[in-house]
Amino acid sequence: MNIIKKIFMKSPSRPLDYHRRWPLRTILICTLIFLYAPIFTLIAFSFNDSKRNIVWHGFTLKYYEKAFANAELMLAFGNSLAIALFSTLISIVLGSLAAYTLWRFRFPGKAAYEGVMVLPVVVPEICMGVAMMAFIARTGWPQDVPWPLNLGAITIAHIAFCFPFAAIVIRARLQSFNRELAESAHDLGAGEFQVFRDIILPHMRPGIIAGGLLAFTLSLDDFVITFFTSGPNSVTFPVKIYSMMRFSVTPEVNAASTVLIIFTIALTAIALRLQYRSQMTEQVK
């Protein structure tokens, strides 16, 4: 009943109700259309039964079949997943350690440490990409290793630029930690590691999960850095799509892209859900 009331009975507009004013509302709606229309058409046309991607011919899933049947594409997807998984696991560990260090300790050069931690966020990706490429070439990184070790270079580069993002998220979570809880645990007899395991880690958990999902998404989606660190037999999903795009614009690319979009959005939704839920439980406490 209340909802119907709200829809049909407009309360008088207050001066600061900018969201009610039609010129501004139009701009917002146009912006949202601008942002979403290309993506929606891309997804829609992945079901289009036509090679040329312009006029709608009929609904089909055949391009999805083609995409899944494309061995190289699937291999690239597998590579991306493997890289993202490893890089997330290690990023969480390194990110947690960095966040813990900055939260707990005073030490000479702390500002420099913080600065270096932030660098990967600030440095343009192209610079990082070429730097890694030069580094790999110069240090004679082994090139002919079997799977999955040939993904090592990419994974290492991904970890280097992902874990600072995870560290930022985890550090934000640590700020809300009451130090007296750790002191209390010490007072009750716990040693350093026990305090970390029993008291601090449970508190960090929402941050670790959110940071992990962020790292996973960053790794999965990365193009520029991967482009410079991958070789002919260590192709990732975005790099593969890029080469497919350069050759031909077929709905197969749409299908593959849609899969990646759904995957990423699902992960983000989970992350947000976890954040939201941990915030709710925090409020009860």
């Binding site: 109700d17 900018y18 969201h19 010129p23 501004l24 701009i27 917002l28 912006t31 949202l32 942002l35 979403y36 290309p38 993506i39 058409t41 891309l42 046309f45 040329r52 312009i54 006029v55 560990v93 390194l94 350690l97 960095a98 260090t101 707990r104 300790f105 005073r106 030490f107 270096v116 931690m117 660098l119 600030v122 440095v123 343009p124 990706e125 192209i126 610079c127 990082m128 070429v130 730097a131 490429m133 030069a134 580094f135 290492i156 280097a160 350093e192 998404t217 989606d221 193009f223 520029v224 975005p238 799509i241 890029y242 795009m245 614009v249 690319v253 892209s257 979009i261 959005i265 983000t268």
Partner: protein, 306 residues
């Protein structure tokens, strides 16, 4: 916070791994690049460290200077358009009822979570010669032509002899469109944060004293939200300046930006010292921008406390 000496073992265990990783896999590669930028190509794969500034000087060559200036111009245009769109959008969101705000923000950010490559590809399908925009325009042209025919003006070819599609792709405009498409959330978020922190009663006071909404915006809202605006400008401009994919996929031969030149030096042209010098020029610009932003927000925070 405790001094590290109190529990040195714990400190080292938590300090060293991240530090070492960054040192070896981030600082070292960048340092290598830095050394290269002072080097000289001696042979096909060898680089001799000569401590020369010729690579940096080459960036001022009219050929490359043109690219640098074009990059600045494209990034600037992108930022300007983002501000023009971002300000009203952020305004609407921050003054919307509380329950709706997180959803609106999510709607704006969600495209950001999709792959850059895919978003750019989607834009290609929209902007192409036979892409969606042109299809719609062609459809409208046919309607217009049909109406003219019915009215009896068909023979005059008032709309042209045939439909000519707009060249929306492979030019600077496409690159700017693509960059705006990608970077809009970066502008909206800081603006939203700044507007959200505003004291509403200040705006109401301005209206009460007789100022109109537009005047209130430029005299009250914008100056108070300035740190947020500056923040948004910097975190839009700097990444736009260093963009690689968007100009690569959407730009024409003359819409190259700095990142594309750098890529060419490392792959096709094999002139790593020059590429390194260009990379570092880009990096210095990025650092400068971030430093400016840091100083600005710090000064604004202190000013507020007074």
């Amino acid at each position: 916070m405790e001094p590290w000496r109190k529990t040195p073992f714990v400190f080292l265990v938590s300090f060293l791994p991240p530090a070492l990783w960054l040192a070896v896999f981030f600082v070292a590669p960048l340092s290598l690049l830095w050394l290269f930028s002072f080097g000289d190509k001696s042979g096909i794969t060898d680089i001799e460290l000569k401590w020369t500034l010729t690579n940096y000087a080459r960036a001022l060559d009219p050929l490359y200077l043109g690219v640098v200036l074009k990059s600045l111009w494209i990034a600037g245009a992108t930022t300007a358009i983002c501000i023009m769109i971002g300000l009203p959008v952020a305004l609407v969101i921050s003054f919307a009822p509380g329950r709706v705000q997180p959803w609106l923000l999510l709607l704006i950010i969600l495209p950001f979570w999709t792959n850059l490559l895919i978003r750019t590809y989607a834009l290609i399908a929209v902007l192409r010669g036979n892409g969606h925009v042109n299809s719609v325009l062609e459809w409208l042209w046919h309607i217009g032509d049909g109406i003219l025919g019915m009215v009896g003006l068909g023979d005059y070819d008032l709309l042209g002899a045939g439909f000519t599609p707009l060249a929306l792709l492979y030019n600077d405009g496409a690159v700017v469109t693509g960059l705006v498409y990608v970077h809009l959330p970066f502008m909206v978020l800081p603006l939203y944060a700044a507007f959200d922190r505003l004291d509403r009663s200040l705006i109401e006071a301005s209206l009460d004293l007789g100022a109109g909404h537009v005047r209130t915006f430029f005299s009250i809202i914008a100056p108070l939200a300035l740190p947020g605006i500056v923040s948004g400008v910097i975190i839009t401009f700097i990444p736009a300046l260093g963009a690689y994919l968007t100009p690569d996929l959407l730009g024409g031969a003359d819409s190259q930006m700095i990142a594309n030149i750098i890529e060419r030096q490392f792959k096709a042209a094999n002139d790593w010292p020059f590429g390194s010098a260009l990379s570092f020029l880009l990096m210095y610009a990025a650092f400068f921008g971030m430093a400016m932003r840091g100083i600005f927000t710090k000064r604004a925070a202190e000013g507020g406390r007074r």
